[in-house]
């Protein structure tokens, strides 16, 4: 439980924090930085509600030891509406009715973001694959998939 200095880029800004390097990135984000948009649905890497981007890759933050983010870049859902605006992915989620209880939504949006960064023009199968680690109990995923397809179009037409 020895604390260590952890330095990383968080939502585009350099941050430093003394923390137990073995505790999870999820708890670090929620407890030390009050970034509560990242949700804990299981704490075991099964539900994807805690998905954040680590160097642009979607990861379950509950499985990442805090010490492992040293020198790297972390992006959470809060980064997408930093200046009061919203991201095209978020717009598309609202437009398509992809949000019901909303608990999976931040993780879903971050998985979609990682996908569109790597593959700006995904087909439906690639979308399904990209969110297959994010459980949603409300929607049956249909409107989420439609939203991601719509978001890709929105981003590409910009």
């Amino acid at each position: 439980m020895e604390k260590e200095l952890i330095k990383f880029m968080l939502n585009g800004e350099p941050v430093e924090v003394y923390n137990d390097p073995a505790s999870s990135l999820l708890h670090l984000l929620r407890e030390k930085f009050s970034l509560t948009g990242t949700k804990e649905g299981c704490g075991e890497g099964e539900c994807g509600a805690c998905t954040v981007l680590l160097d642009d890759l979607a990861v379950n933050s509950c499985l990442i030891p805090a010490g492992k983010v040293n020198g790297r870049s972390v992006e959470t859902i809060e980064a997408l509406s930093k200046d009061g605006g919203v991201d095209p992915i978020q717009e598309a989620f609202v437009e398509k009715g992809a949000v019901q209880c909303g608990f999976c939504t931040p993780g879903m949006v971050m998985s979609a973001r990682a996908l569109l960064k790597q593959n700006p023009d995904p087909d439906p199968e690639e979308i399904k694959m990209a969110i297959s680690g994010n459980l949603c109990r409300c929607t049956g995923y249909k409107q989420i998939e439609a939203a991601i397809l719509l978001a890709a179009g929105k981003i590409n037409s910009k």
């Binding site: 804990e40 019901q100 909303g102 399904k128 109990r137 249909k142």
Partner: protein, 757 residues
């Protein structure tokens, strides 16, 4: 499972695709859920649970735990005032006192300054147990000499019901064929994605405030006040945003709330408690497991005569709503067809397992699986087309069903025809199996409390001209707020953007039964419509008094006969000024007509009824038993759809839950231990598992529902089960009668094991 395509929503009407502004908070991560709440001085609570399925508590030593740094309270059954409680049967105590009855039973609770210290303290509590013989199978529990769980319930029967309508024996004598089989359904967890959390705050001025998201905050408040012996007005429930419920959170986790409250009262500090995902499975009150022995009597012309049932439901160690769920499971499905006679025996049996409760369709989905499977067996025996036998027997508008339900609107036959046409019933693909299934569900159940059948709401004109609606109904993701907004906007004739719905504070909103029994749109929505209508009248009256001439309220503004426009803020201010501080309030009281509901439960139990027919297209690998569900068509009669976008979301989500229950979900037990208490082992559908889903709405006006609408949220799950089971049997040539229908079971059936075609 196959993938299928990304659906483009069908039949969407953009005029009715409204969403609550809260969606923006959710999509940006700013919505506050229970787990996000913090208060100064807050302590963390943890519960020590029984490791044994059945044991006597001989001694609890809390010395070491109490002495740990940071620990502020340790509670055991003997250190608190205990009052038995329950939802239907008072068979639980806040903390086990003498006996534990399942693995997970609450034995002691700790509050400490950090979660880790609370967890460590709970580990340091020493409990000496004397293990007792345990019983896990309800059939075993019914036998003479079986271990007994509760002294007040000899024979382990928590609740039972014997019912006969019509002359069942005679109907069976008149039958040309009789089909029978036994169907089993495991307990199913709602698996809302947000684990249950509560933050309890107690102080002498405010009393007890529980910050927790539940489907029925008012009922939770009433029970907590009763158990803790607090005045009702000194208990308040405030809901953060709710991360799903699906019926599994009508009462949330009462035990957690009571224990958190006890710790808050003991320490005088806010107490935060959260179930882990594992605890959700261990103690989270899943839908009762059931064994249904069914017989059906049918004439050779396809007329269904009667149904006999011997049903055993597995209560687990305590009861929650299981008696009510057992009742719905055992009889609601009988009103899908024109049965002449019914004989039902249902017994709810205690076992040393996780206590059960309810999920989405109150057991009606389990009954659908069994009855619709049996009906296909009858059709096969008679050489009847499964669609034709359903069309011949299904209930119609104007019918009074075998249980006395009065069907004022019913488009079930149209749903069956639409689902069959869309799936290609008469135009089948080679190598595919097709199944169809029908369902009814109460839309606005009035029988939870015979003295409280309806709902009330308030509509308040604010000084800025906006309207605030206060209702005790709950939005937990299904879109109730958006639907309520559209109803109020229509009744008032103002834009939806001017309306805000407030439902999450028991101090501010009228008492409500809560989000269950598909009450939200039908009953809650009617109360909101009435409140808005009364506010509208008051606005017109106040404006007329202001200008001293007749006025009309049209297109969002009030105009006088002479052409003056009187803005809503001016009207609000006028009344505020006249009364020195009051605002115009419309009161909506929706009290459904008294039901002719007799002691046997015969009568109209709901405001109205929703209907659905689902059809499935599947493929089965005859070598491995692998099942591929290709497509589900979901045809619904939910009256007029108020909000198409939300309605589509309900169908997609509900069908997906039905698929999960059909093909892979369900509790697994090793003795009394839950063997799959994680999301890795209790698998719910992922994006890769969901087939193509085609929602169809057969829209007809219902005379009772607001603007012709009926409920949708629960029935969406029901017919999926029968449709998939029948489609698998259609192509595999064997029938699996034990849920979930897995590749392994199909393989065994194909190999001649437990084969019942």
């Amino acid at each position: 499972m196959p993938t299928g395509i990304v659906e483009s929503p069908v039949k969407i009407d953009p005029r009715v695709a409204f969403q609550s502004p809260e969606v923006w908070a959710k999509v940006t991560g700013k919505a506050i859920y229970g787990g996000d709440l913090m208060l100064p001085g807050m302590l963390y609570g943890r519960i020590l649970r029984s490791p044994h399925p059945h044991a006597r508590i001989k001694k609890i030593d809390i010395k070491q735990a109490s002495g740990l740094a940071g620990v502020r309270a340790v509670l055991t059954g003997s250190s608190i005032v205990q009052k038995p409680y329950g939802i239907v049967i008072d068979d639980e105590l806040p903390l086990a006192e003498a006996v534990v009855r399942y693995i997970g039973d609450e034995v002691a609770a700790v509050a400490a300054v950090s979660y880790e210290q609370a967890a460590e303290a709970a580990r340091l509590i020493r409990v000496e147990y004397e293990e007792l013989p345990a019983v896990f199978d309800p059939a075993e529990a019914l036998k003479k000499g079986a271990p007994q769980l509760h002294a007040k319930f000899p024979g382990n029967i928590a609740w039972e019901r014997h019912l006969e309508r019509g002359n069942c024996d005679q109907a069976f004598r008149e039958a040309d064929i009789v089909v029978e089989n036994t169907f089993t359904v495991p307990p199913i967890h709602s698996t809302y994605l947000e684990p249950t959390v509560c933050l309890a705050v107690s102080d002498p001025y405010n009393g007890l405030i529980l910050h927790t998201a539940v489907q029925s905050p008012d009922q939770v408040r009433t029970i907590v006040a009763r158990v803790l012996d607090l005045p009702l007005s000194k208990v308040r429930v405030i809901g953060p945003v709710m991360g799903g419920g699906f019926g599994g959170r009508v009462y949330g986790n009462l035990k957690l709330y009571i224990i958190a409250s006890l710790l808050a009262i003991r320490t005088g500090r806010p107490i935060k408690m959260q179930l882990t995902r594992e605890e959700e499975f261990l103690v989270g009150r899943p839908l009762i497991g059931a064994e249904l022995k069914l017989r059906m009597a049918v004439r050779s012309d396809g007329t269904i005569l009667a149904r006999e049932a011997d049903i055993i439901t597995d209560n687990g160690a305590y009861s929650a709503q299981a008696p009510w769920v057992s009742k719905t499971l055992s009889e609601r499905n009988d009103s899908v067809y024109q049965f002449k006679a019914i004989k039902t025996k249902v017994r709810l049996v205690y076992t040393n397992k996780v206590p059960t409760g309810q999920y989405r369709a109150y057991g009606n989905q389990a009954a659908n699986f069994a009855t619709e499977s049996l009906l296909d067996m009858a059709a096969a025996k008679l050489g009847f087309d499964p669609l034709e036998i359903r069309l011949k027997n299904c209930v119609r508008a104007g019918d009074v069903t075998v249980h006395g339900l009065q069907l004022k609107s019913c488009a079930l036959a149209d749903c069956l025809k639409a689902a069959a046409a869309e799936i290609g019933w008469h135009n089948r693909k080679e190598g595919r199996g097709y199944g169809i299934s029908a369902a009814i569900h109460s839309s606005g159940s009035v029988v939870f409390d015979k003295n409280f059948r309806g709902a009330a709401a308030l509509a308040r004109l604010e000084l800025d001209g906006r309207v605030s609606i206060f209702s005790g109904e709950q939005d937990y993701g299904q879109g109730a707020h958006a639907t309520f907004t559209l109803i109020a906007a229509r009744a008032l004739g103002i834009p939806a953007e001017l309306i805000t719905i407030h439902t999450r504070d028991t101090l501010a909103s009228p008492f409500s039964i809560g989000a269950l029994g598909m009450r939200q749109t039908t009953i809650g929505g009617n109360a909101i419509r009435l409140a808005a209508e009364q506010l509208r009248e008051k606005i017109v009256q106040t404006a007329a008094d202001m200008v001293n001439e007749p006025v009309i309220f049209e297109g969002g503004s009030v105009k006088s006969a002479s052409g003056q426009v009187i803005e809503l803020p001016a009207i609000a201010f006028r009344y505020y000024s006249l009364t020195s501080g009051l605002t115009l309030v419309g009161e909506g009281k929706y009290v459904p007509a008294e039901s002719a509901y007799d002691k046997s439960g015969y009568g109209n139990i709901a405001v109205t009824y929703s209907f659905a027919a689902h059809a499935a297209e599947v493929e089965v690998d005859k070598l491995t038993g692998e099942i591929i569900v290709h497509r589900i068509v979901a045809a619904h009669d939910s009256g007029r759809i108020i909000n198409h976008l939300a309605a589509l979301g309900q169908v997609y989500g509900g069908v997906t839950q039905g698929l999960g229950m059909s093909c892979f979900e369900g509790y697994l037990f090793e003795g009394g231990r839950v063997a799959n208490a994680s999301l890795a082992d209790y698998r719910i559908p992922t994006s890769l598992d969901v087939p193509a889903i085609v929602p169809l709405f057969i829209e007809q006006d219902d005379p009772e529902g607001p603007y012709g609408a009926k409920g949708l949220g629960e029935i969406v799950q029901i017919p999926v089960l029968g449709a998939i089971a029948n489609a698998i049997a259609d192509t595999a040539g064997v029938r699996v009668t034990d849920l979930p229908i897995t590749a392994e079971k199909v393989f065994l059936a194909l190999s001649g094991w437990e084969c019942e075609a």
